[in-house]
Symmetry: none
DNA sequence: GTGGTCTAGACCACA
DNA sequence: GTGGTCTAGACCACC
C-alpha cells in the first residue's frame, strides 16, 4: 500500500492516514479481511512518530472500519459503517460553511469556487468508479 | 446585529464571529462604512472574553474587511482589499482540503460533493450581482 | 538565534520579535526550512508570556513567512508568499506615514530624510542579490 | 489656517494636528506671536472631540512650540526648540527600522522603497523652501 | 514535547 | 467610552 503524507497541510497527519486507508478500502486496493501494515513499519515508511499512526488505526477501529487482533496486526473488516445521505449532507455542510465564508472574504465568484472545487475533486476521482 | 455562537463546535469561536460578520457584510446586513459593535459590548452580548472578539476583529482588519479606529471603534471598509488569483486559490485550497478529507471519510461520490457545493453556493449568488 | 527585546519601547514586543525574525531570515541567520525556537522556549528565554510570542509567530504565518505545524513547531517557509504591487504599496505607506510625521515634527528637509533612508536601505541591499 | 485630517491613517488624529501646525509654523503660514484657533472652534471645524484638539495643543505647549495664555488662547512662540542633527538622525532611525522590516517582509527592492519614499516625501516639499 | 484557543484581569493610548 | 497590548494560567489537539 502506498500512502503519501503532505506535511504542510491543514489536515492533521493522522487524519491523512485515516483518509487514505478509507479510500484504499473503498476502491478495493485493500480488500476485506486483508492485513494492514504494522503500526511501526508504516511509521518507519512514512518517517513519522508511531503514535501518529497508532492514533489513525485507533480511530479506524473505533469507526468500525478495521479490527485490531492482539499480537497479529490490524485487518480490514467486512462491514463498513455506512453514513446515510442526510448524515453525509449534514457533515459536508459544516465544512462548506467555512468554504463559503472564505469565498465571501476573498470576493470570489461562484464560478471560481466551482473551478477550485473541481481541482480538489480530482483526488476523489479514483474513488468514483467503485 | 445578531450573532450566534456554538461553544462546543470544532470551529473556534473567533472564527465563527469572523465568518458571521463576513456573511453579514455580504448580504448587506452590515453596510459599507457602518460601525460594528464595540469589542467589549459584543463580548458582553455573547458572554465571551473580550480578547476572543478582539482576535476576530483583528483578523478582519488583516484581511482588509474592516478598519479599526483607535478610541472610536471598528468600521466596515468602503473599499475591500483585492486578493490576487494565486492568493485566492491558496486560501480556498486550505478549506477544500478539509472538504475532500471529509468527503473521503464519508465515502461520497464527486457528484454528491458537487451537489452539496451548489446548494451552499447559493449564498454567494445573492451577492455576486452587485 | 539571538533576539533582544526592549520593554519600554513604543514598538510592541510582539512586533519587535516579528521584525527581528524577518531580519534574521533576510540575512540568512535563519535559513529556509529551518525550525524556529518553540513558542514556549522563546518566551522563557526572553522572559515573556508565551501568548506574546505566539502572536508574533501567528502574524508571520499570516504573512506567509513561516509555517506552523501542529505539535511539531514553526518552520521558515521555502517559498515566500508573493505580495502584489498594490499590497506592497499599501503596507509601506502605513509605515511611511509615521516617517513623514516624525520628519515634520523634527523639521527635517526632504534631503535629510533621503540620506537617512539610504543609510537604512543598506540592510536591504545585502539581501537583494539572491 | 487649513488643516486636513485623514481618519483611516495609522497616525493618531492629535498627532496629525500637531504635525500640521508644526509645518504651518515652519513654512510661515503661522507666524511668531500669531494666535491659533481656539480648541473648540478647531474641534468644530474638523468635526472632532475637543479633547483630541486639546491633547495636540497640550503637547505643543510641552514641546515649547506654542504658549497657552489663560482665557486668551494659544500663541506661536518665538523660539522653536531645535533638534540637533544627531538627535534627528536617532529619532528617524527608529521609524526607519520598522520600514526596513516591512520591506524585507514584503520582498521589496531598495528601488521600490525609494519610489514609495519619494511619493510620501511630496508632503514635505512645501516645507523645503523655507 | 509542540502549537491553538480561551478566560480573567491589568494597564495604556486615543477620542 | 473605544481599541491595543501584555500577563497568568487553563485546557485541548497533535506528534
Amino acid at each position: 500500500m502506498e500512502l503519501s503524507i503532505i506535511t504542510g497541510s491543514q489536515v492533521p497527519i493522522y487524519r491523512q492516514i485515516k483518509d487514505q486507508i478509507c479510500q484504499a478500502i473503498a476502491n478495493r486496493t485493500l480488500k476485506e479481511g486483508e492485513k494492514l501494515p504494522s503500526i511501526r513499519s508504516l511509521a518507519d515508511q512514512l518517517v513519522l512518530n508511531h503514535n501518529t499512526v497508532a492514533k489513525a488505526y485507533h480511530e479506524l477501529v473505533k469507526d468500525g472500519v478495521i479490527e485490531s487482533r492482539h499480537g497479529r496486526g490490524a485487518f480490514v473488516l467486512q462491514q463498513r459503517k455506512v453514513f446515510n445521505k442526510a448524515e453525509r449532507s449534514r457533515r459536508l455542510k459544516q465544512v462548506l460553511d467555512l468554504l463559503i465564508s472564505e469565498a465571501i472574504l476573498l470576493n470570489c465568484t461562484p464560478e471560481e469556487v466551482r473551478e477550485e472545487v473541481e481541482k480538489s475533486l480530482e483526488q476523489l476521482h479514483s474513488n468514483s468508479g467503485k
